[in-house]
């Protein structure tokens, strides 16, 4: 093989290698780009039960009185947080478009203050986009003193265009600890019992 051909071959190899490296870097970046894309996709389509954590305006003019939907509340403790989360009622029956308020009680059962957050999820996921929350403790992180009890409201509506096959909507709130929390981001709330343990 002549030198000239060796050069053409070398150039070809170099071209292939650089293109492969570009593809590699691109795919590595793509993997990380999938994280926000996934989040956006889930929010837009409402699949995965991911709820918008911004307050939405309530709509007052149209209540669908021909229909009743059961809304169930489930509270769970995720991991490692010595709190209890209770809800005043396990389920309510409401009309689509009707505004409803339900109180949740946070209780720090440990002897030290800590930060936590209730992460929401909606089931069935097709109902996610039709849950309209005007006020929710799940929008913010909470700080509780040792032994503190805190009652916080959830104000919500179901859209009138909730798909007709959905008769039950379940709202799940899972408590998670927030580590190394400094800045106060606490929701406006009334303390119903003494601060001391």
């Amino acid at each position: 093989m002549s030198d000239n051909e060796m050069d053409t071959q070398g150039a070809g190899v170099r071209r292939t290698v650089w293109r492969s490296v570009a593809a590699l870097v691109g795919m590595f970046a793509f993997a990380f780009a999938l994280v926000p894309l996934y989040d956006v996709f889930c929010r837009v389509t409402g699949i995965n039960g991911k709820v918008d954590t911004n307050a939405q305006a309530l709509v007052h003019d149209n209540m669908d009185e021909s229909r009743m939907v059961t809304v169930q509340f489930i509270t769970r403790n995720g991991s490692g947080l010595p709190w209890r989360l209770d809800v005043e009622t396990r389920q309510v029956r409401i009309h689509p478009g009707q505004t409803s308020e339900v109180n949740f009680t946070f209780n720090n059962q440990s002897g030290a203050e800590s930060w936590g957050r209730a992460v929401p999820s909606v089931s069935p996921s097709t109902a996610t986009r039709h849950v309209r929350k005007a006020s929710c403790f799940c929008f913010e992180e909470q700080r509780l003193e040792a032994g503190e009890r805190l009652e916080l409201p959830l104000v919500f509506q179901l859209d009138r265009d909730l798909p007709p096959e959905i008769n039950t909507v379940t709202l799940v709130y899972t408590l998670y600890p927030v580590d190394g929390k400094q800045a106060p981001l606490q929701a406006a709330a009334k303390t119903i019992e003494g601060d001391e343990a």
């Binding site: 071959q9 292939t16 795919m27 793509f30 990380f32 996934y38 989040d39 889930c42 998670y176 190394g180």
Partner: protein
């Protein structure tokens, strides 16, 4: 491609020139260990890959036998559940990343330059580096078994949060090992792709390449596309574990389901990475022993490319039970079933090649035929798993275990063994010992089916994966599986014996060791292949058939 050189050298000239060149033009190669540490020769590196893969095959096999020993009877007899979980995990990781993948890379190193008439790989020193990363990666991975808290115990799919929040402390080492192994396969893939695209003999067009080269080219593209995604996933795990991020942690706004999407976006193409080169090997062996041209060469190429493209669109079929909208389930179900079409094209082409052939049953052909039959069984159980509503019954049961072992053991591994038997005469200059090879084949085939066929039934009846104990009604199936596993495992010692005997001696093989229909370029160089071949490009002549 380089233009044709007017005075084409004959093959005899090129090989004598190669031997002469080895004697004079190069300085003497280092001796002993340094020769292997520093080698840049594609044949030596190919051998290193294959030996490494064989060693890892036995280590992963021992882990599998620990699992089967514990499952021989219901109840806990030999190991505790924590160690059992480490064994299932390490078995999977070692077999996938350290046995099957390096074996194919080793075959590629040995055979691709020979099959396309290139003197070596495009990047020989990078080739050396890619190989020597592997012992580092898997030394590190195996060392986690001796660390406090034990090795990885979350299954080879390492789903978060099992592999993040609830993982043993050694997980950071696991991540590093996977990174290094990933870099090794990426570098190997770049090298192979660069070799195939740029170093073919003058006159060899893409559509003249042997199918092993074609399937490896497509596998190389798959590796370049998805190994970085794996690297990304384990990097996110690393950050979740050590740097307080929350990619897969719902508490911090992340999502564990995202892990599964990312993992299977890598993981599904990965399973084709482990099977496409096998298709190439079988497509070389069946025509050689049926004494016919391969039926439908072009359709084989297009089918391989179609499988590779579809593999990026079907990852969700691993996640039917996770919770997915109906539209998603339907999409992934139909897309998955579509893969049966190009795969069916391949199987029918092999059968059409066999049809009216003058078939003989030498060891490579036995393994290739077993591949076609048993891989197809694995393909069919894959179709059953693709049916979304039925998958809820099969999900995470031994039915899944039966399925992927059918496509990986009598699929990928039988194809690797077929390839080794097929090319051993080229590597060593001797035919493998006929009687011993036959024993190895029949014991393997019986062992594999005894092990994995009953798993279909225990799985359909609901026996869960990755559990050290089981309900009494599964006892008989499990006992048969365990007996088969030990039969299969120990009969692989025969394979080692065959290879060692073949290196040491045996019936001498001519250059074209398997007759007129094994006529790719590798059969034009002497057996055993000299260390340096095709230093002058061969005169490639398109087969006249």
């Amino acid at each position: 491609m380089a233009p044709k050189v007017p005075p084409q050298p004959t093959l005899e000239q090129s090989s004598t020139a190669a031997e002469a060149g080895h004697g004079h033009a190069h300085e003497a190669p280092p001796k002993g260990l340094m020769r292997w540490l520093l080698t840049t020769n594609h044949k030596e590196i190919g051998s290193l890959y294959l030996i490494f893969s064989l060693v890892m095959f036995f280590i992963g096999g021992i882990f599998a036998l620990v699992v089967r020993l514990e499952l021989f009877q219901p109840g806990l007899q030999f190991v505790n559940p924590e160690f059992f979980n480490q064994m299932t995990t390490m078995h999977g990781l070692i077999m996938v990343f350290a046995a099957v993948m390096p074996a194919f890379t080793g075959l590629a190193n040995w055979m691709i330059p020979l099959q396309i008439g290139a003197p070596d790989m495009a990047l020989p020193r990078l080739n050396n580096f890619s190989f020597w990363l592997l012992p580092v990666a898997f030394g590190l991975l195996l060392s986690t078994l001796f660390m406090p808290g034990g090795g990885p115990n979350f299954g080879w799919t390492f789903y978060a949060p099992l592999s993040t929040t609830y993982a043993p402390p050694s997980t950071t080492f696991f991540i590093l090992a996977l990174h290094i192994a990933g870099i090794s396969s990426i570098l190997g893939a770049i090298n192979i792709v660069a070799t195939i695209l740029n170093m073919r003999a003058p006159g060899m067009r893409m559509m003249d390449m042997p199918l092993f080269v074609w399937t490896w080219l497509i596998t190389g593209f798959l590796l370049i596309a998805v190994m970085p995604v794996l690297a990304g996933v384990v990097t996110m795990m690393l950050m979740d574990i050590n740097f307080g991020t929350s990619f897969f942690n719902a508490a911090g706004g992340g999502d564990p389901v995202l892990f599964q999407h990312l993992f299977w976006f890598f993981g599904h193409p990965e399973v084709y990475i482990m099977i496409l080169p096998a298709f190439g090997i079988v497509s070389a062996i069946i025509p050689a022993f049926a004494r016919k041209r391969l039926f439908g060469y072009a359709s084989m190429v297009y089918a391989t490319a179609a499988i590779a493209l579809l593999s990026f669109m079907v990852w969700g079929h691993h996640m039917f039970a996770v919770g997915m909208p109906l539209v998603g389930q339907l999409f992934f179900m139909y897309a998955t079933m579509l893969i049966a079409v190009p795969t069916g094209v391949k199987v029918f082409n092999w059968i059409a090649t066999l049809f009216q052939g003058s078939i003989s049953f030498e060891p490579p052909m036995l393994f290739a035929l077993a591949f076609v039959v048993l891989f197809t069984i694995g393909g069919f159980s894959g179709l059953m798993l693709a049916i979304a509503p039925a998958d809820f019954q099969y999900h995470d049961t031994y039915f899944v275990v039966a399925h992927f072992h059918y496509v990986l053991v009598p699929g990928a591994i039988f194809a690797i063994m077929a390839g080794v038997y097929f090319w051993l005469p080229k590597w060593t200059g001797h035919y493998p010992h006929e009687r011993l090879s036959q024993w190895h084949f029949w014991l393997s085939v019986i062992g594999v089916n005894l092990t994995f066929f009953p798993m279909h039934f225990s799985g359909l009846a609901g026996m869960p994966r990755r559990i050290p104990d089981y309900a009494l009604q599964f006892a008989d199936f499990n006992m048969v599986s365990s007996l088969g596993a030990f039969l299969f495992g120990f009969s692989q010692l025969l394979f080692v014996a065959v290879v060692i005997l073949c290196v040491r001696g045996g019936k001498k093989a001519p250059a074209a060791a398997w007759g007129d229909y094994a006529d790719d370029l590798e059969w034009s160089v002497p057996s055993p292949a000299p260390l340096h071949t095709f230093e002058t490009p061969p005169n490639y002549q398109r087969p006249a058939h």
